[in-house]
């Protein structure tokens, strides 16, 4: 799968849609894609609507990408989180780290508690960790 950069109406804001799997086999390409396009991007929106599967290596790639954008003072935003990614972010307690809005159904609210990790951390401690 190749990643396609689609410009939005906002200047410097681009969208990438990922379908199928975002697993260890794709990550080399992902890294290359980000490094090649970072110059022109201010905000990258990753649309996960059609994502079917992600593994921990994929989650780790998202964390590294997030850190990279933070360092460059750019935005990396995930939208349309599918169940596979929500379950990972929930269990690993990474919702707070990614700082994205996640919309879930009423039914899913019973499944996902988002009670782990940094989200619970008071601001005063957050800066030290």
């Amino acid at each position: 799968m190749d990643f396609q950069l689609e410009p939005t109406t906002v200047k410097g804001e681009y969208k990438v849609s990922i379908g199928g799997n975002f697993t260890i086999y794709l990550l080399e390409k992902w890294k290359k894609f980000i490094l090649e396009n970072i110059q022109s991007i201010d905000t990258l929106i990753l649309d996960l609507k059609h994502l079917k599967e992600i593994d921990s290596a994929g989650i780790q790639a998202l964390l590294i990408t997030k850190n990279y954008f933070r360092r460059l003072k750019k935005n990396f935003i995930l939208i349309h989180h599918p169940a596979c990614i929500i379950s990972h972010l929930d269990l690993f307690g990474l919702v707070g780290f990614m700082e994205d809005k996640i919309s879930i159904s009423k039914k899913d609210k019973e499944i996902y508690k988002f009670s782990y990790g940094i989200k619970k951390l008071p601001k005063v401690l957050k800066k030290w960790i």
């Binding site: 490094l35 593994d55 780790q60 590294i64 619970k120 008071p122």
Partner: protein, 750 residues
């Protein structure tokens, strides 16, 4: 393999494991420093027995080992401490498990052990309860201040901040029951190996509650340096579950080679936390904050850790610590070198597990192989004789080569049955410990020559006689502490078990530095029992040998260990049944050495074949010193039992006189002397023809000849004749006895 065979494997393995438990416990008793590794080993042994017993539904073992396992787990987690009392309790538990397994193996009911089980379980429970909770609980606020004032972190305000009441989870101490702390770092190759942390945590979630989980992101590289196939993740979890540590470890079973896993017990001590922190490479302050935040440690525990740390300032010494470093680089380097050298030494001295290079074979299969080799040896001897009679050189050459191969095959086959005696010796550690406790004596057991090998069947049969000799040495030989001090001896007695090879035999010595045998006492006792013939003199050895008579004891008081005079006769009988002998060396007030001489193997020997009259005989080749032609001038005029061999006197006797009541006419005029050695003595046997080396498979003579002295067995020759294998030790005794009788008769006549 059917179920019965698998059960058999369970019994053998359990016996090995129980042996290991015993030696580990004894080593913990003698050296309690750095017990962790040995406690882990103990735990593993008990756990394996429990697991295997579970497979066969041996519920009684499963139930008991489960309790024992719990106690051991607490011990290795440092919740409880190891004392000599607890070691004694564990030894009792080990014995109990061993007895139950034995009952199962023999299809016996274990109801008679119900009480014992109950007592042991109560003791284990009591032991568990004994220790106080690890951390005292002073009020929270003063702790914050104290830590802020006294901590070495140089930034007390951070700790104050952490302990501020507005952080909800820190306001009150949470209920710590069943709360495990799991700290795991996944290694770089985790993803490459197709492994993933996610399903592991999902599994844990299914069997308990993950109270909190913190993904450590500080190890993540910059995107430019990122290797997309590598894993940089680490996790800190607080896990609530009623399951045991083993369950958690098993959850990580699939990823165990790709993780660095530390599990802290719900009731861990400050020392455990300290140890955990020192084993992690992250910045300690950051890690402590995370742990406090997720509730993996409580502020009270943190205080205890800091208190402990003030005593042992070691856990903060990670390279990224904020502490000022004043250690000169050179010293550090040397330290590192020293510690790595130590480490290498440690690895080198660690015995490699034996199991990795061995396979288990059913003993009956081995016996069958040895029987076949035995038959092969006989057939090859037949072929050899046939080839000689045919006088065909090329045939003889082939047979010679074949014989060499068969000889090597025989040695290798026999070697399969050879086991070092060390294992048997090591069992005496426990015997000595228990008896010493009972008698209130202090004795050091010294073991040497444990690597000496001998046939497995001999090893099995030697354990009982050896136990008896050891008990005797401890009870009668070695004196009390006070008596020893009075005599100017060391307060601790020494019992030395020693084994070595000597001309075709193995010699096992049980040596003590105790009071020694009293010649006078034994003589007096023998007189009382009408065993003494006043007309003759007795040598020291003869007097000592009285102790081998049934019912003979000089002990003033009878203990439950020894002193009834039952035993030494059984010892002698057992050893003689193995074609062995017992020799006593003793000096009063200095100690006693009992030497047990045993043949290396019971099955096949390299023999020397000769003829007396028309009968064939074989003696073990190792005992043959030389062969010389008998010449009348050897005889020393008056004395017909000693010849002059190159200027040295050599006692000799004619085998024909010993075995045949009448002189058998021999066609041959030339006679030969076969010089044999036994127990450093040389003796000549007058024989007719010498037939040379002969590989012999010793066949037992059968029950009807049980009392026949002087013959160890028989073998079949190539020409179908039967040759008798001589038992030199008993022949010597027989000759000595006859000579003594002759002397007595002569004296009476004169």
């Amino acid at each position: 393999m059917d179920l019965e065979e698998i059960k058999e494997v369970f019994f053998t393995e359990s016996s090995d494991l129980l042996q290991r438990i015993e030696s580990t416990l004894l080593s913990l008793e003698s050296d309690p420093t750095n017990p962790r590794e040995r406690l882990d080993d103990l735990f593993r042994c008990v756990h394996t027995i429990k697991g295997s017993a579970g497979i066969f539904g041996f519920e009684r073992i499963v139930k008991f080992t489960h309790h024992l396992e719990e106690v051991l787990d607490e011990l290795r987690e440092g919740i409880n401490s190891l004392t000599s009392e607890s070691i004694a309790l564990f030894l009792d538990c080990r014995d109990y498990i061993s007895e139950i397994i034995e009952d199962i193996a023999n299809q016996r009911d274990s109801k008679d052990k119900d009480d014992l089980e109950k007592t042991l379980l109560e003791k284990l429970k009591h032991y568990q309860k004994k220790e106080p909770p690890p951390i005292e609980a002073p009020p929270v606020e003063p702790i914050a201040l104290e830590i802020a004032k006294q901590t070495i972190y140089k930034s007390p305000e951070i700790i104050q901040e952490i302990l501020k009441p507005e952080v909800p989870s820190l306001e009150e101490e949470p209920e710590r029951k069943n709360l495990w702390h799991i700290s795991v770092r996944f290694k770089e190759n985790t993803f490459k190996h197709g492994l993933d942390p996610f399903p592991v945590f999902k599994y844990l979630q299914k069997h308990g509650e993950i109270i909190n989980l913190f993904t450590l992101t500080h190890n993540l590289p910059e995107l430019e340096d990122w290797n997309p196939e590598a894993c940089y993740l680490g996790f800190e979890l607080v896990y609530k579950s009623e399951k045991d540590k083993n369950f958690i470890e098993e959850a990580f079973e699939f990823v165990k080679f790709d993780t660095d896993l530390i599990i802290l017990h719900p009731e861990r001590t400050a020392e455990d936390i300290c140890e955990f922190l020192s084993s992690r490479t992250e910045r300690k302050l950051r890690l402590i904050k995370i742990l406090l935040y997720i509730g993996a440690i409580t502020p009270r525990e943190l205080k205890a850790v800091l208190d402990l740390h003030r005593v042992r300032k070691d856990f903060m010494s990670s390279p990224t610590s904020n502490l000022p470093k004043q250690v000169p680089v050179q010293t550090t380097k040397n330290n590192i070198q020293d510690s790595s050298i130590e480490k290498i030494k440690e690895i080198k001295t660690k015995p490699t597990p034996k199991d990795s290079k061995t396979i288990r074979v059913d003993l009956s299969k081995l016996d069958h192989l040895i029987n076949l080799v035995g038959e092969l040896v006989i057939s090859s001897a037949n072929l050899n004789q046939y080839s000689i009679s045919k006088q065909d050189e090329s045939l003889q050459e082939i047979v010679f080569h074949l014989n060499q191969l068969i000889s090597e095959l025989r040695d290798s086959a026999l070697n399969l049955r050879m086991v070092p005696i060390g294992e048997t010796f090591n069992r005496f550690q426990r015997v000595v410990r228990d008896i010493c406790n009972e008698l209130g004596k202090e004795v050091d057991l010294k073991i040497t020559g444990g690597e000496t090998e001998l046939d497995k069947s001999v090893v099995e049969k030697i354990t009982d006689p050896l136990t008896h000799l050891v008990r005797n040495a401890l009870d009668h030989g070695i004196e009390d502490k006070e008596e020893r001090i009075k005599l100017g001896k060391t307060p601790k007695g020494i019992l030395h078990l020693h084994a070595y090879h000597e001309t075709g035999s193995i010699v096992i010595e049980v040596k003590d530095d105790g009071r020694g045998l009293s010649k006078e006492k034994i003589y007096k006792k023998a007189q009382e029992k009408n065993l003494i013939n006043s007309t003759r003199e007795y040598s020291e050895d003869e007097i000592f040998r009285f102790i081998f008579l049934p019912g003979f004891s000089t002990a003033e008081k009878v203990t439950n260990l020894s002193g009834r005079g039952v035993g030494m006769d059984v010892v002698l009988k057992n050893i003689e049944s193995l074609r062995g002998t017992v020799n006593i060396l003793s000096k009063e007030k200095e100690g006693t050495t009992i030497q047990v001489r045993l043949p290396l193997t019971l099955a096949i020997i390299d023999g020397f074949l000769f003829q007396v009259g028309t009968s064939y005989f074989v003696v073990p080749l190792e005992q043959v010193v030389e062969c010389v032609e008998f010449k009348p001038e050897f005889l020393n005029g008056e004395n017909k039992d000693i010849i002059n061999l190159r200027g040295h006197p050599l006692p000799f006797f004619a085998l024909s006189n010993l075995f045949f009541t009448q002189n058998i006419p021999s066609k041959k005029t030339r006679k030969n002397i076969l010089v044999v050695r036994y127990m450093q003595r040389e003796v000549g046997l007058l024989v007719d023809s010498l037939l040379g080396e002969f590989q012999t498979v010793i066949k037992p003579l059968g029950k009807i000849f049980t009392n026949l002295k002087g013959v160890a067995g028989s073998t079949v020759l190539g020409n179908g004749e039967v040759a008798l294998v001589l038992d030199l030790p008993s022949i010597f005794q027989l000759v000595i006895q006859r000579e003594q009788e002759k002397l007595k008769k002569n004296r009476r006549e004169t």
